[in-house]
């Protein structure tokens, strides 16, 4: 489960302090913030910039470059469905349609109750057990339309 929490400067300071001494600490810090708060809000950008002696524009530029970091909160669960070639060859387009239908949202969208965000991912290294998906940190292979129901239900919990 991705924890969507209100931003807390003290906790963020702890995350920053934990990684600050590393060479090139920015990505580990952003991963820490993203994991803890479910997103990297502007307040975090400001705080990180101050701590690392960077400009806010620099930190903002990094946050927006990577698919893993998000400035806005998303759903409580993130369902990533592989849309890359090996999964396409194994019928992932049909799986993706079925998931969109079951959730009532499209890729890049969040269900109105804030429960699930649906995202595309390009290869999970499960290409010989395709089609594949990842619900939060749990990987799922050999998806079939029959398995979609259970997966979507789990995401809705």
């Amino acid at each position: 489960m991705v924890y969507q929490a209100t931003y807390d400067e003290t906790e963020a300071a702890e995350i920053i302090a934990e990684h600050e001494a590393l060479e090139g600490p920015l990505l580990p810090i952003l991963h820490g913030i993203q994991a803890r708060f479910g997103h990297v809000p502007e307040a975090a950008v400001r705080q990180i910039a101050a701590a690392l002696n960077l400009t806010r524009a620099e930190v903002h530029g990094v946050v927006t470059f990577y698919h893993d970091f998000h400035k806005e909160p998303r759903g409580r669960h993130i369902l990533k469905v592989c849309r890359a070639e090996a999964c396409q060859a194994a019928g992932s387009d049909g799986i993706a349609d079925a998931i969109e239908k079951a959730l009532g949202i499209g890729f890049g969208e969040t269900t109105p109750d804030g429960q699930v965000t649906l995202e595309a991912v390009y290869c999970l290294g499960l290409c010989a057990a395709a089609p594949s998906a990842m619900l939060d940190r749990r990987i799922v292979g050999r998806l079939s339309e029959a398995k979609v129901g259970a997966l979507v239900e789990e995401a809705r919990l």
Partner: protein, 517 residues
């Protein structure tokens, strides 16, 4: 005590292996059975995962694919003694998919407990590093050069030459970086070795450190690989505790430390200079070359950046000597290559063999054709930037130069199989779409070209002036091919043009100029 092997590899875990291990653990405890569960890597027969193995007096007997909920019935059937069962595979070594392989880099993968250093040593681990420490820098580089090993990340650059440049470069600090970004669809060899034999990568990086004078290593590991991240981190922790890493490598005067850094979902960060910028905490944009990373790499210091498989191939080369490796393969492609079969394939998985098998033998004989049972129509080799090959090119030997001669590439050696329901125009459109999504934005041909290409193919799909738009796509491909800074923009034309060239009938039946060549 009898051992029961239940893989921790992602293939197995994605199909329920954690739950299966839990079920067996519970049952063994309940019934007071003296059986030890070992979470091993994958043997590479992915279609049979989760594949469990029991150690019996007659050898290791495999069963698969196992599903959650089956444990009790399996134990009742006598599987723990190797009894007959519809899912009994027998000895993996005797399985045709395995028997035809030549395991060099993956020789331990799936056999050992990935996190046991004792197991690692017992299966030949650390011999390479021990020898490296004994013969010292120049001789190590000479050995790697003599083996003919070329980078497995895609470009096929000779590894020994890269190491020599870093060894000779001046720097108060040098780095070894393992490229574990493995973003190519159809590839999972890096993941499998990191999950199944992580000490092998650690050993390879330590040898690179001794060879070049580098004292710090980073593994840049993509965030899409949660299992590999966990296994790799734990292996590094254990290696440090055992003196395999740290201030004194195996008691020698060499220091080497290692850290895993997690990527953040950008395909382009697999490109080496973009990866270095990302490690430094910047946007993952491609750098202009020169300077080469070997001279000015991470934080401006001399840096070896190699693919995971390149590095993991080195310990065995050092342990057994370069000659045995060099003897394998064909032409300038020496040694073995872990081929990955994925997509719509009957027998998908990892197949390590010397270079030189034909594409057809790999797909039809090893892979067994499609999983759907329909005829194979196309295979994409080398990831999203690789060409689509039709069956008529199946006589192409698996070799860097042979693929290049047919306007393709072997890349990281992933093969994705498609049956005859594939629409090649859609695949061409996807190639542009992927490039547009993942472009780092530094150069115009790629940033703008990918979007224009996507729109133009879409028009052809919609039946809008197909001939004219097809010509436009060809033009665009030329611009991207020759005007892009890196291979993301520069190679996207490969899947696009190969689709058009080899499957003209999918493009509204308008064979274009190239088709007639």
């Amino acid at each position: 005590m009898t051992k029961l092997f239940i893989p921790l590899d992602s293939f197995a875990v994605a199909c329920g292996a954690d739950q299966i291990a839990e079920e067996f653990g519970q049952l063994l405890a309940d019934r007071g059975l003296a059986v030890e569960i070992v979470r091993n890597g994958s043997r590479g027969l992915a279609w049979l995962e989760p594949m469990i193995e029991v150690e019996t007096p007659g050898g290791r007997i495999a069963y698969g694919p196992i599903e959650p909920g089956e444990a009790a019935a399996l134990i009742d059937a006598g599987v723990l003694a190797g009894a007959g069962h519809p899912k009994r595979i027998g000895k993996v070594e005797e399985h045709p998919f395995f028997a035809r392989q030549r395991r060099h880099t993956f020789k331990r993968c799936g056999i050992t407990d990935p996190l046991s250093l004792d197991d690692y040593r017992a299966h030949g681990g650390l011999k390479g590093l021990e020898r490296a420490i004994g013969i010292e820098a120049e001789a190590i580089v000479a050995e790697v050069t003599a083996s003919g090993l070329r980078g497995r990340g895609g470009a096929g650059f000779p590894t020994g030459i890269k190491w020599k440049t870093v060894a000779e470069a001046k720097g108060d600090r040098k780095y070894i970086v393992a490229n574990a970004d493995e973003g190519d669809s159809g590839t999972f060899a890096d993941r499998m070795i990191m999950e199944g034999d992580p000490f092998c990568l650690i050993e390879g990086m330590a040898i690179a450190g001794v060879a070049t004078g580098a004292t710090k290593g980073y593994i840049y590991l993509r965030s899409e690989y949660p299992v590999a991240i966990a296994v790799m981190r734990e292996a590094i922790r254990r290696a440090g505790k055992a003196g395999l890493l740290g201030a004194s490598l195996l008691g020698s005067s060499h220091a080497f430390d290692l850290e895993v850094r997690v990527g953040a979902g950008a395909y382009v960060c697999g490109e080496e200079t973009s990866l270095l910028d990302s490690l430094e905490g910047k946007r993952g944009q491609v750098r202009f070359k020169p300077p080469l990373p070997a001279i000015q790499g991470l934080f401006g210091k001399p840096t070896v950046i190699n693919n995971v498989i390149t590095l993991a191939s080195v310990p065995e080369i050092l342990a057994a000597g370069a000659d045995g490796y060099k003897e394998l393969g064909i032409g300038r492609s020496r040694g073995t290559i872990p081929i990955q079969l994925g997509g719509n394939v009957r027998h998908g998985g990892l197949f390590e063999a010397p270079f030189g098998m034909t594409l057809g033998a790999i797909v039809e004989e090893i892979g067994g054709g499609t999983a759907s049972g329909r005829p194979v129509r196309a295979v994409q080799v080398g990831g999203p930037l690789g060409a689509y090959f039709p069956v008529s090119l199946f006589d192409t030997p698996f070799d860097y130069e042979a693929f290049a001669a047919k306007d393709g590439l072997i890349g990281h050696a992933g093969i994705v199989v498609f049956d005859d329901t594939v629409d090649m125009m859609k695949q061409a459109r996807f190639a542009f779409e992927f490039c547009a999504i993942e472009s780092c934005g530094k150069c115009t041909p790629c940033r703008v070209g990918a979007v224009r290409g996507y729109e133009t193919v879409k028009k052809i799909i919609d039946g809008e002036r197909p001939a004219e738009n097809l010509a436009l796509v060809e033009d665009l491909c030329n611009t991207m091919k020759f005007g892009s800074l890196c291979a993301l923009g520069g190679f996207t034309p490969y899947p696009v043009m190969s689709a058009i060239r080899h499957f003209p009938e999918d493009f509204h039946g308008e064979p274009m100029r190239v088709a007639a060549e």
